[in-house]
């Protein structure tokens, strides 16, 4: 797998020493994370490792207790989701937040509709929708059907496409392939690669090792609210990553894999 992308050199988002406490719980402790333009960074970790907290901190839902954030070379403080969006950090949360009764165009442009003589400019919105979806090679049969009638992967596509309308520099995807079928997962992974080609920094949260190995350039592992290693996907195996996630080389996943291989060979 070659992951040398020409633009993957300048860091667009950088977190240094970020900590976050919830009462007695240290959710994040001294987290470091760098994302370059044109790079997919997978954020992995077990349940409760702090992935969601970190994403919400970047997205401006939580403000960190300590630590610094640098965006596009400038130190920034993000105190609200709107501010994060304004900076150029788009987040697609797991529940997608689509309006089922509106069509694809309505959802894509929700809250930032185009006007034509003060009325909605449906024609221009539809044209731009197609343009955007084509750029993403998205497989949406019609943009004039209610979002409810789309498959899970297509809904994910609409949600991701919507996040791109604000011209972000970093896109965070929270478990975009959870609850998707095989073909739909592949579609979303293609979409992630398309985002990388556009020079965006992508933070991908996933539990699925196969997805992570397939699409990510680097993998940042969180364990119990701390950094537990950053791996270059081209020089590592999913074994190493699982070991970092669980914190041990001997873990249920590797034991199970070892047992299966020994059974097959016997």
């Amino acid at each position: 797998m070659t992951v040398t992308s020409p633009v993957a050199t300048d860091t667009v988002l950088s977190m240094q020493g970020v900590s976050k406490r919830f009462g007695a719980v240290q959710a994040l402790k001294d987290i470091e994370l760098d994302v370059c333009a044109g790079e997919v960074v997978a954020l992995v970790g077990d349940n409760g490792a702090g992935k969601s907290t970190l994403v919400k901190t970047i997205a401006g839902v939580y403000s960190p207790d300590e630590g610094d954030m640098t965006f596009d070379g400038r130190p920034v403080r993000v105190s609200s989701p709107a501010e994060a969006q304004h900076l150029g950090i788009a987040t697609v949360f797991q529940d997608l937040a689509l309006c089922d009764n509106l069509d694809v165009v309505g959802n894509l442009f929700l809250g930032r509709e185009l006007r034509h003589h003060r009325a909605l400019d449906e024609v221009e919105m539809e044209r731009q929708s197609w343009q955007l979806l084509r750029q993403l090679s998205a497989k949406i049969p019609s943009v004039r059907i209610p979002v409810a009638s789309l498959s899970g992967g297509q809904r994910q596509t609409v949600a991701i496409a919507r996040s791109l309308l604000g011209e972000p520099k970093v896109v965070m995807l929270d478990e975009p392939t959870a609850a998707l079928g095989v073909a739909q997962t592949a579609e979303v992974l293609n979409l992630v690669e398309r985002l990388r080609e556009r020079g965006l920094g992508v933070i991908l949260i996933s539990h699925n090792m196969a997805d992570v190995m397939a699409v990510a350039d680097r993998v940042a592992v969180l364990r119990l609210g701390r950094n537990n290693g950053v791996f270059d996907v081209s020089q590592t195996t999913s074994q190493d990553i699982i070991a970092a996630i669980t914190g041990a080389t001997s873990n249920p996943v590797s034991e199970r894999a070892a047992r299966r291989t020994s059974e097959e060979s016997s």
Binding site: P81, A82, D95, A97, L98, C99, D100, N101, L102, G106, L110, G111, R112, E113, R115, R118, A119, L120, E122, V123, E124, E126, R127, W130, Q131, R134, Q135, S137, K139, I140, P141, S142, V143, R144, I145, P146, A148, S149, L150
Partner: protein, 430 residues
């Protein structure tokens, strides 16, 4: 699955009228789209939509035809010009209230106090007009603003304290009825002079035949022009366009329906001013819902509040504006009803006003579950309800039967709504 390589911005070009443009429009390139062209295609699209439960206003139109057929066979007076003019006059006031109900239903909320608000507005107008001798315009404006203020209060309570709209407006139903009785005072009943412009407007003013036909032509032309303009813009943007024959069918159908209605009503007194006002309000609200950012926000909030909020829509403002509009329409409806009766009394806005208005919106096809519906459901629904009421009174059946029949029709309408909703979910059209 490979899509045919194609540039996204092919100018489709208005290449002839009936023939297909040389390049496939941007929105028809996906090979999974079931191609449907020509008359047969249009019919098959329509039937498949119906099968999947996307009924739109079809049940109410079919229901109306059945109701009219039944009553006409029982009493040949029913479809007479005279009775239809009365029907139009009776529909306008409650229909206006129903427009407001459509709006709150689109948000998935409810307003139970519209009857009381319409009664209070009528009382305020009556008292300021007769006892205080205000000019009519001032009295009407005061009454309408009262409605607006009440709606704003509902909106504030709803958005600040999160009290369910059902409870807020149930309290309003009682409280505002009390306020109405208080405003009316001891007499309890006020007559508005027959010479008052309001009463004349609501009872005796009809469009001259030439004006009525002129309006029909004007409406059809305006519709045609707006369709042609959007068609040209779509073609310029490389999107698919409605075939010319279908556009012609739509325009001719609209003109025909309006012309026949005017023709029939002109046999008697003509098209009432009040009904024209109601129609104009329906069309304006329909445009506001479908064509403005505000309307899109209303639909979004009705579909998924959280999504709307995250998209940066000012959800509070949407709730406030809709509750305020609903009560404003209720107040206006109350004034029209007072004008039609030439009187205001303690039972103004009481009785079945409330439920007729809500039933009209639901029977017309606006979903109780929010996010689906159109302003036209107020028009269709109120005509159904008034037809039942007028038909039964022509048969000399008293109000006990009327309540039961209206109740049954309402239940049927809500059942169809629930069933079609389930079917829409199953067929992916929710």
């Amino acid at each position: 699955m490979s899509t045919t390589p194609s540039t996204p911005e092919q100018p489709g070009g208005p290449a002839g009228i009936e023939e297909m443009p040389a390049a496939v429009p941007a929105d028809l390139q996906d090979e999974r789209l079931i191609a449907s062209r020509g008359v047969r295609g249009a019919v098959s699209v329509f039937t498949s939509r119906l099968r999947s439960g996307d009924l739109g206003s079809l049940p109410v139109v079919v229901g109306l035809i059945i109701i009219w057929g039944v009553f006409q066979s029982l009493n040949s007076e029913f479809l007479s010009a005279r009775n239809l003019v009365n029907l139009a006059l009776q529909s306008a006031a409650v229909g206006t209230i129903a427009i407001g109900i459509v709006l709150v239903l689109l948000l998935g909320e409810i307003d139970l106090s519209i009857g009381s608000v319409s009664g209070l507005a009528a009382a305020i107008m009556g008292v300021t007009l007769t006892s205080r001798h205000w000019p009519l315009s001032a009295a009407v404006i005061a009454a309408i603003l009262t409605g607006t203020v009440i709606g704003l209060a509902y909106g504030v309570i709803f958005t600040r304290f999160g009290v369910p709209s059902f409870v807020i407006t149930l309290a309003g139903l009682l409280g505002i009825l009390g306020l109405q009785l208080y405003v009316l005072g001891k007499e309890g009943s006020l007559n508005i002079a027959f010479t008052s412009a309001l009463v004349e407007f609501a009872q005796q003013q009809f469009l001259a035949p030439a004006v009525a036909y002129g309006l029909v032509v004007l409406t059809a032309v305006a519709y045609l022009v707006s369709r042609l303009r959007s068609r040209a813009r779509r073609a310029a943007a490389g999107l698919s366009t409605t075939p010319a024959w279908m556009l012609a069918v739509h325009v001719v159908a609209l003109a025909l329906v309006l012309a026949v209605a005017v023709l029939v009503l002109n046999q008697d007194r003509g098209v009432p001013y009040m009904f024209v006002l109601f129609l104009v309000l329906v069309v304006l609200m329909d445009l506001a819902i479908r064509r403005t950012g505000w309307g899109r926000s209303v639909m979004a909030v009705g579909g998924n509040v959280e999504a709307a909020r995250r998209a940066g829509i000012n959800v509070r403002f949407i709730y406030l504006s809709v509750f305020a509009l609903c009560s404003t329409f209720a107040a206006l409806g109350g004034i029209l009803a007072a004008g039609r009766l030439a009187a205001v009394n303690q039972s103004s806005g009481g009785g079945d006003t409330n439920l007729n208005a809500i039933a009209a919106a639901v029977i017309g096809g606006t979903s109780l579950f929010g996010g689906r519906g159109s302003a036209y459901s107020a028009l269709l629904g109120i005509i159904v309800i008034q037809s039942i009421s007028s038909g039964l009174s022509l048969l000399n059946l008293d109000s006990s039967i009327r309540f039961m029949v209206t109740g049954a029709v309402l239940l049927l309408a809500v059942t169809i709504d629930s069933l079609s909703r389930r079917s829409r979910v199953a067929h992916g059209r929710a």
